[in-house]
């Protein structure tokens, strides 16, 4: 059974979620630079992930300027883990 998560299907979202598991919070601009996507593209991914409760964002400051900090939720961690397992199963099935 492949219980992969359609919200996490776009590779950029999977990369964003995986990235957020390695830190407690990441600044929007830091994530954007690492993923090499535009402001608007990252905003759309963050909105989609926030809507299902996988990612939280809050306003803060960094180097005296306003910014947005992103973090993965425990629901997001569980969903990511299940999705990665489903993808690995999918790959294993054809090997």
């Amino acid at each position: 059974m492949n219980d992969w998560d359609s919200t996490l299907q776009p590779p950029a979202r999977l990369a964003l979620m995986t990235m957020l598991t390695t830190v407690s919070q990441a600044e929007f601009v830091t994530v954007q630079k690492r993923l090499q996507v535009s402001d608007s593209v990252l905003s759309k991914h963050v909105s989609a992930l926030s809507a299902v409760g996988y990612v939280e964002s809050h306003k803060g400051t960094h180097a005296n300027r306003r910014t947005t900090w992103l973090s993965i939720t425990s629901k997001g961690r569980s969903a990511l883990s299940a999705h990665v397992s489903a993808l690995r199963n999918l790959i294993a099935d054809v090997e």
Binding site: A15, T18, T21, A26
Partner: protein, 185 residues
């Protein structure tokens, strides 16, 4: 209707995600003079804590409190510098490296603090800075161990201790230190 990814798409997505996660962690930098400042602040805190036994009614307590404040300030500044430098927060780094809750760090720190208080109680004052420096070095070495573990497994190490656990730990440290001071007097 959702379309299932092909095995090739799944493999590519997983590879990209793994790379993104490990690239972020391996690209993180420590602020300049990080270990030396943490080591020095810890040594100062241990050394000044022993001053309580020299004069436990007056300036000794003031010196010990000043030592604790130095360590808190240096830790706070280094956490802020780390955040500003990298654009990320890593609670494991904040609690285990700067807060000293990693196993190696807390063990060496406890032994060094106990040793410094014992030396002060025995009036072997020359031993106090020796224990203080050992405690500082233990803090730095414990921090380096955690940092290497984090680089090997960032997702597994990034989470810090819970706030409740930290409060319990710091209360236990204060009570333990008080008991040592009363016992040595």
């Amino acid at each position: 209707m959702d379309i299932s990814p092909t095995p090739d798409e799944a493999a590519a997505a997983l590879q990209q995600a793994d790379f993104a996660g490990s690239a972020l962690a391996s690209g993180l930098l420590l602020p300049s003079h990080f270990y030396s400042s943490i080591c020095t602040a810890t040594a100062v805190q241990i050394g000044t804590a022993a001053a309580v036994l020299a004069n436990h009614n007056g300036w000794g307590i003031g010196v010990a409190i000043a030592g604790v404040l130095v360590q808190f300030c240096v830790g706070g500044i280094q956490i802020a510098r780390f955040r500003s430098l990298n654009g990320v927060r890593v609670r494991g780094f904040e609690s285990r490296v700067v807060g000293g809750t990693a196993y190696t760090t807390s063990t060496v720190y406890g032994l060094a603090l106990g040793g410094a208080l014992w030396a002060a109680a025995m009036e072997a004052w020359w031993l106090v800075p020796v224990f203080a420096v050992l405690g500082g070095l233990g803090f730095a070495v414990g921090g380096q161990h955690w940092w290497r573990a984090y680089q090997r497994d960032p997702a597994g190490s990034s989470r810090g201790d819970s706030a409740v656990w930290l409060i319990v730990l710091y209360c236990a440290a204060i009570v333990g230190m008080g008991a040592l001071v009363i016992g040595f007097r």
